[in-house]
C-alpha cells in the first residue's frame, strides 16, 4: 500500500494516512454507486446547512476492510449527539452521522490546543481522562477528515488541526496510556499475574501506537497499529507486536521485561508524571473490627486487613497520589486487586 501525507504540515508530526484520504473516500463511495457529494444529502435539511461537514473514519484513512463504515460529522448549530451516532444505510454502506454543536467544539479545540499538559492531575481522575480522550479523538478524526463543505472560519480551524500540535498531543497521550498499563501491571503482578500479563501486553501495544503516531499515523484507534507498522516498513516492530500478543497469555514473563521493551520504544517517563488512584463508582466501605468490608453496588466485594482505608468520596477525586516507581501501600494494592480503584497517570502542574 502506498503511503502518502494526508496534509502538509510545518512540524515533525505531520499526519499520515494510507493513500490519499479524498481518493479513498471517492473509491469507497464509487464501489457503492455514489460520490462523496451524496453524503451531504444524508444531513437532514431541517438541521440547516452545517458550518463544517467532514467524512472520516477508517475508510478515509485507508485502513478499511469490507465491513468498515464512513463516519460523517456535521458541525453547526445542532444538538450534539456526543457518543451516539445516527446510523444510516440509505446509500448502501453504513454511514454513522454525528452532529456536533459548533460553539462547544470551538471551545473544546481551544482548550485542547492551549492546555499545557495533555492530562493534568487533580480533579475527578476517570472523568478528566474520559473528557480528554473524547476531545482528542474527536479532533483527530476531524483532522483526518475529507471536508465536504465548510465556512471559511471552519476551513481554517480544520486545517489548523493538521499542523503538528495535535499529533504531538496524540503521541503523549499514547505514551501515558502505556505507562498507565505498566504501573497497574507492576502493582497487580504479585496478586493477579494473569491480569498483569494482559496489562503488560497492552503497555507494549500502546507504546507501539505512540511510535506510529510519532511517525504521523495518529488516527485514534490502536487496533490498526499493525497496519501502521507495516506501512512504515518496520518488520522489527511488527515482531515486537506479535511478541506482545503472545506475552498477554504468559504469566511466566515478568513485568520488568515489559519495562525494558516500553523504555526502548518510548523512553523513560518524564519526572513530573504522577499516578493517581480514585474509588470507582458504587463503592462503599464498612469497618469491621480490625478489617474493612469493601463492596460495590452492594453486590460484590471483599474484606481488607486494615481498619484505615481512605473515606469514600463520590466526586471521583484521588485517594492516593504517588510516583510511577513507587510501591503502592498494601491497602491500595488490595483495592486494585478487587477492582475498586481507577488508576490514572498524568502530569503534575508546572
Amino acid at each position: 500500500m502506498a503511503e502518502s501525507r494526508a496534509a502538509a504540515g510545518s512540524q515533525a508530526h505531520t499526519l499520515r494516512a494510507l493513500g490519499d484520504p479524498a481518493g479513498n473516500l471517492a473509491a469507497f463511495m464509487g464501489r457503492h454507486g455514489h460520490t462523496p457529494d451524496d453524503l451531504l444529502g444524508q444531513m437532514s435539511t431541517s438541521l440547516g446547512e452545517p458550518s463544517l461537514a467532514v467524512a472520516s473514519g477508517s475508510v478515509v484513512v485507508g485502513y478499511a476492510n469490507h465491513k468498515s463504515d464512513v463516519d460523517l460529522y456535521a458541525i453547526g448549530d445542532v444538538p450534539d449527539t456526543q457518543r451516539v451516532p445516527i446510523i444510516s444505510h440509505e446509500l448502501g454502506p453504513m454511514i454513522d452521522l454525528s452532529l456536533i454543536d459548533q460553539g462547544q467544539l470551538r471551545q473544546q479545540l481551544t482548550w485542547l490546543k492551549e492546555s499545557p499538559q495533555v492530562l493534568a492531575v487533580g480533579g475527578a481522575v476517570a472523568d478528566q481522562w474520559r473528557t480528554t480522550r473524547r476531545i482528542l479523538h474527536r479532533a483527530l478524526r476531524l483532522a483526518y477528515g475529507v471536508v465536504l463543505r465548510s465556512t471559511p472560519e471552519w476551513a481554517a480551524i480544520q486545517a489548523s488541526l493538521r499542523l503538528g500540535w495535535l499529533a504531538d498531543k496524540a503521541v503523549i497521550w499514547w505514551r501515558l496510556e502505556a505507562w498507565r498499563r505498566l504501573v497497574t501491571a507492576r502493582w497487580l503482578e504479585p496478586v493477579n499475574p494473569a491480569l498483569a500479563a494482559q496489562l503488560a501486553c497492552e503497555a507494549r501495544l500502546f507504546a507501539l501506537k505512540a511510535v506510529t503516531a510519532e511517525a504521523g499515523y495518529a488516527y485514534p484507534h490502536q487496533k490498526w497499529v499493525s497496519t501502521e507498522l507495516r506501512a512504515m516498513g518496520r518488520d522489527d516492530l511488527l515482531a515486537l507486536f506479535r511478541q506482545a500478543l503472545q506475552a498477554a497469555w504468559d504469566v511466566t514473563v515478568p513485568v520488568r521485561d515489559t519495562d525494558k521493551v516500553v523504555d526502548g520504544l518510548i523512553g523513560s517517563p518524564p519526572s513530573n508524571l504522577v499516578v493517581e488512584a480514585a474509588y470507582v463508582p458504587g463503592v462503599a466501605t464498612h469497618r469491621l473490627g480490625d478489617s474493612t468490608l469493601v463492596s460495590r453496588w452492594e453486590l460484590r466485594g471483599g474484606r481488607l486487613d486494615t481498619a484505615q482505608l481512605p473515606a469514600v468520596r463520590h466526586d471521583g477525586h484521588a485517594i492516593w497520589r504517588g510516583s510511577l516507581e513507587e510501591t503502592p501501600p498494601e491497602w491500595l494494592r488490595q483495592l486494585a486487586a478487587l477492582g475498586m480503584v481507577w488508576i490514572g497517570v498524568g502530569h503534575a502542574a508546572p
Partner: protein, 165 residues
C-alpha cells in the same frame, strides 16, 4: 423451578452478560471475522484478544465477578471466577492467530463460535442470545437486553453501571 440465593445479583449478572454479548462482543466478532477472512492475522489477533477477554468476562460475571465492565479501568479483572479450562481455551484460540494464523481459518472461526457459546450458556437463559449484527435478529436482541435491564431496575440493581459497557 429454580431456587435463587440472591435474585438481585442473579438478574444483574444476566443483564450485564446480555449487554456485553450483544454490544461489545458482536462488533468485535465482526472485526475478528473480517480480519481472519482477509488473512490479516495481525489485525485479527489484536481484535480477537479483546473479544476473548470480553467473552471470558461474561463467564466471570456469572461466577461472582465484576458487574460493571469499564474497559478504561485497568484494574477490571476479566478472569475472576472463570475456570482454568475456559481460560486455557480462550488463550489457545488467541495464540493460534499470532504470526502465521491458523491452518484452517474457517475451522478456527467455528471453534471461536463454540467458545463464545460456552460463555453464553452460563447465562442459563434457555435460548441463544439473538445476533445483534443480523438484521432479522437486531430488534430481538435489543428487546432481550431491555427486558432484563427493566427487571434489574425493578429489583434496585445498578442499571447505569451495566447498561453502557
Amino acid at each position: 423451578m429454580q431456587r435463587l440465593d440472591d435474585t438481585r445479583r442473579w438478574v444483574t449478572e444476566r443483564a450485564a452478560g446480555i449487554v456485553r454479548l450483544t454490544l461489545t462482543c458482536a462488533s468485535l466478532r465482526e472485526d475478528t471475522e473480517g480480519g481472519v477472512q482477509a488473512a490479516d492475522f495481525d489485525y485479527a489477533a489484536y481484535v480477537a484478544r479483546e473479544l476473548i477477554l470480553r467473552t471470558l468476562s461474561v463467564a466471570s460475571v456469572c461466577a461472582g465477578g465484576e458487574l460493571e465492565l469499564d474497559e478504561t479501568q485497568t484494574t477490571f479483572d476479566w478472569f475472576e471466577g472463570v475456570s482454568d479450562d475456559l481460560i486455557a481455551e480462550g488463550s489457545g484460540l488467541a495464540l493460534e492467530l499470532v504470526g502465521q494464523g491458523p491452518a484452517d481459518a474457517e475451522e478456527w472461526l467455528a471453534r471461536l463460535s463454540g467458545f463464545v457459546a460456552k460463555a453464553e450458556a452460563m447465562l442459563d437463559l434457555g435460548h441463544p442470545v439473538p445476533d445483534s449484527r443480523a438484521s432479522d435478529e437486531m430488534f430481538a436482541s435489543l428487546a432481550l437486553a431491555r427486558d432484563w435491564i427493566d427487571v434489574c431496575a425493578e429489583l434496585g440493581g445498578p442499571v447505569i453501571a451495566i447498561a453502557a459497557p
